[in-house]
Amino acid sequence: MANLTSEQANKLSDDFFYLATAIVDFRYENWDRLTLEENLELSELQGSILRCGEDILAFSTTLVMDEVAESLAKISSITVEIKDTIRTLTSVQKALDTAAGILILGVAIMQRDPGAIGNSIKDLFATWKGPVA
């Protein structure tokens, strides 16, 4: 089963399904000719075939993982890049706010106002250290 592809597995599951329905139809068409034991045995057999077909479908889904591994990795890395770009763009707002803070600080320095300088530095520090929106 190591080299089985999901497509082949799906085909196998189809085969199991049609085999099981053939047994079901045979059972009902020959109901009166079958002994109780034969009927039970066929019923069990058809149940097992159905289970097998279902299991193959689930197994086929896990095989998809190997087939898309490369695409998954690629899309995941592109998504990370997109998020990084968004972060870069949102940090422009932070740069603007920081620039505004520097302007206020500059004016305060020009006015030689120690109180305003202290407040401006504090605000500027808070803006710079604050999280990127």
Partner: protein
């Protein structure tokens, strides 16, 4: 001073034109795609659900009673994990693309700087309000022009890189839903048929009422399965349309702001929206 402001505003016009990058088509299409892909959560049927249903059906058929139903569903849980990884990866990509394309992202505001310039506490330093307004408009427009151009270039590059792998993932996701998950329901249907047919052939049911009740129950159960199958069909059709829409974006990635593309994308978005609405109707 007013004349100066007027000249400044006139100088701004070309930047305005350049800044009008229309990424709305990408943004709208991504939002519709995300809404459609998210309906995966509303399918309300997983491989593990199927395994548990089977376990219950068999216990009912054999009239087996135990204190707790024990089912071995490891394989089915693995199938669910794979499906979930595909779902999250595809959804994550469209959410990211949508976020990058939305205009709000570059609605930068120079208000902080404007407020700083007009603040009255700056005493003797007075800046003319018209000039401040012009500064604000120019800085916002210039920022938008550069960042929108950057965004457009980035989005075009991402769409170019992502198209191949996203088509593979969308294709496989469709196969899993249509062939595998819906395929499991086909087995469930067959098991149901056998359960009621055995009842009939064994003449287990005696009264007309019991027979009528069993027949009604059978068709009701069949209807429930068919509804799930229909939901899966509609969901998978949505994935197919998303794939086509992304292909159109890929083929036109170098002219993302062209009006024709906006109209084409509107068409794909509308088709996906119809499928979302159809899915929602089935779900109620």
């Amino acid at each position: 001073m007013k004349k100066k402001s007027f000249i400044v505003i006139w100088l701004m016009v070309p930047f305005c034109i350049f800044s009008c990058v229309n990424l709305k088509s990408v943004s709208n299409f991504s939002a519709t795609s995300t809404a459609s892909i998210s309906n995966f959560e509303n399918l309300d049927y997983t491989f593990s659900d199927h395994c548990k249903d089977r376990c219950e059906d068999e216990a009912v058929r054999k009239f087996e009673l135990s204190r707790a139903l024990e089912c071995s569903c490891d394989l089915y849980s693995k199938a669910d994990s794979v499906t979930r990884v595909l779902y999250q990866t595809i959804n994550g990509y469209f959410v990211g693309l949508g976020n990058l394309a939305q205009n709000e992202l570059t609605n930068y505001s120079a208000n902080a700087a404007v407020n700083a310039m007009t603040a009255s506490e700056f005493g003797p330093l007075k800046i003319d309000e018209n000039l401040v307004g012009a500064y604000s408009a120019i800085s916002n427009t210039l920022l938008r022009a550069t960042t929108d151009f950057y965004r457009k270039r980035k989005i075009a590059a991402y769409i170019g890189e992502a198209n191949g792998p996203i088509q593979v993932l969308l294709d496989k996701f469709q196969i899993i839903i249509l062939s595998n998950l819906k395929g499991e329901l086909r087995f469930k249907r067959e098991r149901l048929y056998v359960y009621y047919m055995d009842m009939k052939m064994n003449r287990t049911l005696l009264s007309d009422y019991e027979k009528g009740k069993a027949t009604r129950d059978y068709y009701q159960a069949l209807d429930d399965i068919q509804l799930k199958e229909k939901q899966m069909d509609v969901f998978a059709q949505g994935l197919q349309e998303i794939g086509r829409g992304h292909q159109a974006l890929y083929e036109n990635r170098d002219k993302l702001s062209v009006k024709n593309l906006a109209l084409t994308m509107l068409d794909y978005s509308a088709q996906v929206e119809v499928l979302i609405s159809e899915f929602n109707q089935l779900n109620h």
